[in-house]
Symmetry: C2
Subunit: 421 residues, 2 copies
Amino acid sequence: MFALHGHIIYSESKDKLCIKENGYVICEDGISQGVYDTLPEQYKNITVKDYGDRLIIPGLVDLHVHAPQYSFRGLGMDMELLDWLNQYTFPEEAKYKELTYAEKAYKQFVEELRHSPTTRACIFATLHTEATYLLMDLLEEMGMKAYVGKVNMDRNCPDYLREDDVSEAIRETKEWVGNSIKKYKNVLPIITPRFIPSCSDLLMKGLSQLQKETGLPAQSHLSENPSEIKWVQELCPDSTCYGDAYDRRGLFGLYGKTVMAHCVYSTEEEIEKMKENGVYVAHCPQSNTNLSSGIAPAKKYLERDLKIGLGTDLAGGHSISMFRAMADAIQVSKLRWRLLNTKETPLTIEEAFFMGTKGGGEFFGKVGSFEKGYEFDAVVLDDTSLLHPQELTVRSRLERMIYLSDDRNIYAKYIAGCCIV
Amino acid sequence: MFALHGHIIYSESKDKLCIKENGYVICEDGISQGVYDTLPEQYKNITVKDYGDRLIIPGLVDLHVHAPQYSFRGLGMDMELLDWLNQYTFPEEAKYKELTYAEKAYKQFVEELRHSPTTRACIFATLHTEATYLLMDLLEEMGMKAYVGKVNMDRNCPDYLREDDVSEAIRETKEWVGNSIKKYKNVLPIITPRFIPSCSDLLMKGLSQLQKETGLPAQSHLSENPSEIKWVQELCPDSTCYGDAYDRRGLFGLYGKTVMAHCVYSTEEEIEKMKENGVYVAHCPQSNTNLSSGIAPAKKYLERDLKIGLGTDLAGGHSISMFRAMADAIQVSKLRWRLLNTKETPLTIEEAFFMGTKGGGEFFGKVGSFEKGYEFDAVVLDDTSLLHPQELTVRSRLERMIYLSDDRNIYAKYIAGCCIV
């Protein structure tokens, strides 16, 4: 049991940012016991870690990131989604068949993740089971709370990156799920069909069945790019929208929590279906910009009370920073407002911070806030390197972290009560 | 006379990036003598600084930045231009009347600029002459080559930040110009009417006359925001477009080089006028996003052979990095292509790098390239902190610098042949 002392900031809702200057947040058995002006009587004798004038925020939640793509972040930004997959992504992911390469690459990814403000993540690996274990080992060791998905894909992808035999793919995925649940404490498996175009109906059926049996969460991609959406319509002529194609295959929140990355072009019907089924949106503004996909209507999703968080989507996105994802979300919402729809007002700091903490955190349970009962993920920020001549409020200091911070500003990091950095 | 050895990268044109791996670039009296595979016979005995596997690029050119706004970078991003000026900018700029505050703030700005990849900049100060000298002193001492403008403004601005007496304002500006030319070697004055809405016709007339007498360059803002443009139409009913309003007041390239920031909404007539008059565009993608202004058609300007460079526009923009300006330019060009006009294809790495070096550099003369005869501005980049498991080409390494670099990657910096960092 311990308390952290500093300027404490967290979201209660998308519109309400709570700031407790010189406050205390208490952790007992990895769970927050709330935020206080002074230490309550029953906690008088607990250890207090005094972070002084620093900011203390909940850990940030990355709802969508591809670990094997970290290697080519900031490269190959000259194509749209489908060409980008064939030209850059699939050839790189194929390399993870070799464990030596996978180990080198995943160690680099996990090391940068450690020094980022992220405390929880939904991670795509590749279809290689051995390399996926390796990634899970590294994350487990680091203390990261993560859902990691061995990717499934069996069509419309190069021979060298295709699961030829569906029953064998399902068997292997099941075995990986079973072993992972036994083996890891921090890391959990997540069912991960790449996306409709690269998954046959038979494969989807098997994965849906697996979700039904295990109750595990699932992750995939939805309505990212116009050409992709058109392709899905051709592949699934029976479906009324892309989300419906997942739904008919039993992978749209039917048997467990489900998060869909992007949702740039979700129709009214798709939005309704996501809402009914409790499907989470992983809004990935940087990736949607880099791959020329467009701008997702995040404001609309928030106003419609969809479950929504943010994702870096490496390497469609180039930055691992979830602060950058918040800033990007605000920035593209302004361009959406200006260029597309003046009824959708730009996102606020409050909304972006909510999505990056409590909004995405909900996918992991009670995560992403310091309210009593929430798992204790915390990031301590030291902003002294960002010089300024004037006085700044605590809220302004948070705003600067969103726009200007990098790994140097991450002073300490706690995940479920454990100090990681 | 000396040579730098490393992987040398520079633009010849907007479409042509030249890469000389393990090459030499030679500096004589501050001027590049060209790039070579091996040292030519006549240079056999000169000093060679060997930067090994590092990248060597021309210094980057920031065509538009407000020094006094550095203090609130990353803050107050919730308004459009005109409200943002009144709410955040003018109150902050007013503080520079106090030299103690100005010194503290400008030292911070100049220190960050030193460690950035920028070697040349067009800088707005405030209307305060004493503080402007102070900024110029600091830049001069650092070795930065910069145009610095004491801002002129006499209407539609708060009392506390208005030049009440036009003749006195012109007299003071003239005196400042004369003193500056005598006093500084690296830093030059630039004529700086804030923008049409805050400058009376009389003030503009005086400044135009001053440009005529001195041949100095001028800088201002153009067609940034729809409300601003509408306001200019109301203020200048005789003008056919915003650019024409400057032109009729003799400040649109008539008497000297002129750079206009933004040009988000320039009409066909305005574009033609810029081309005829040789007016430079300072494309500021980050600021145009943060202030919800829109996306400037940079690709079109390049194709029409307008003179164009990039600007950070602190604190409409929040990052001082010109690499970030390149990445932002590419990113918003993709959104412009997707959302507005599929005929304007996204900017390439070549085009963004050109704008950030040789394109903007032209405003300073033969600047922004390593071709023979160019002033020797160079930045040496160490990218070893950005881990990767695979082999990377030199071009890919440059691409990563554009998307991922920060001040830690700036290994050395030369301005006009002098080593600054």
